[in-house]
Symmetry: C2
DNA sequence: CTAAATTTTCAGAATATCCTGAAAATTCGG
DNA sequence: CCGAATTTTCAGGATATTCTGAAAATTTAG
């Protein structure tokens, strides 16, 4: 690869980790490379940097685009698309979570709901209970997620930093919220 | 398979979804089967229920055990191990998240820290900045996660349900917490 | 200790995924 | 239009993963 050691290792690492997630090595490498490059890169530059085939890059970029993880731009007098990742890392995380939810959670939720509506069969009430329980849990988690997702980045970061006080907050939320109202008034 | 339609479809679904996560089909099926079965099952029963080889079941169970996702028990006058999943689904989710963090996040965090300490190289300060930024974000997320993890299940569920009030809470946390102190006193 | 019951290991077959080069398709300046 | 630049598609080879049966290892009752 035609890049610095730092970039090389960064890209390598995301290639390897890629496999532990659902994505394949080259897709991970492409994203890492775009993430760490200041200037947008075109497909040919990616080919050169990663020493992989042009068609592989094409497929990788398509995959990343289907995840809404890329921004494209153009240069004057150059027909080629130039790719980069969003600057705001929190935005990237949001997108990642949203897409994973869509692909990995939502189908399961549908299936569980469907199974829950079935006429009771020989599986017995234990199985049915377990399915409802799981459906309920997943709903709680996704509801919580969409609440978090609605917060703008600023507040989200604050929330993360709050951390340790969350436990205290939970026990008395209702009162706290009402206190806050009074305070504002 | 020798089971009801409900169980069959549930197990099938987790087999298919398994591939979208990092786990393979049979491991997903085994877990789904154990999850939905009221009584613990031994390896042979899993073989029969899923029509897969004994050795595959053995490997699958080992894999699940390495994730701390199983409980084992014995029956009198029977040498075989019987397997089941924890009753408490929240406990299962905790384990899952903890294990995924260990395997998918922690190695990346180490690598990023290592790269951050490197002498500046030709990658330039943009790349270095991007690495720090990513390291910082992942640290925030994992810190937030460990705060949540410390909450017991009861409060966690409350927190999930609170959801929409989180945004309000964030803006005035400091005051709220101090108000709460006074209230208690 | 012996032997039956049970589990684990592992080489190689079966399957699935990834990657490439060549060819087809698209885009766009002239 | 034409044709050069660029991108995409896709069949098949290359790799990687999963699964199996047979054999080895382990466990435990007697």
């Amino acid at each position: 690869m035609q890049t610095s050691d730092l970039t090389y290792e960064f890209v390598q690492h995301f290639g390897e980790m890629g496999s532990r997630w659902g994505i394949n090595r080259t897709v991970g490498q492409i994203y890492a490379l775009l993430f760490i490059s200041e200037e947008p890169l075109c497909a040919d530059e990616i080919v050169e940097a990663l020493s992989i085939s042009r068609s592989n890059v094409s497929m990788g970029l398509k995959e990343l685009q289907s995840w809404n993880l890329l921004r494209t731009s153009r240069k004057p007098d150059d027909r080629r698309d130039y790719f980069t990742t969003p600057e705001d890392m929190w935005a990237i995380v949001r997108t990642l979570v949203a897409e994973r939810k869509k692909r990995e959670i939502d189908p399961t939720l549908s299936k569980l709901r469907e199974l829950e509506l079935r006429a009771p069969d020989s599986a017995g009430s234990y199985a049915q209970g377990r399915i409802s329980e799981m459906r309920g849990l997943i709903e709680s988690l996704t509801d919580f997620y969409s609440d978090l997702d609605r917060l703008e980045t600023e507040r989200l970061i604050q929330l993360m930093k709050m951390g340790k006080t969350l436990g205290k907050l939970v026990s008395g939320t209702a009162q706290l919220v009402s206190l806050k109202q009074k305070e504002k008034a």
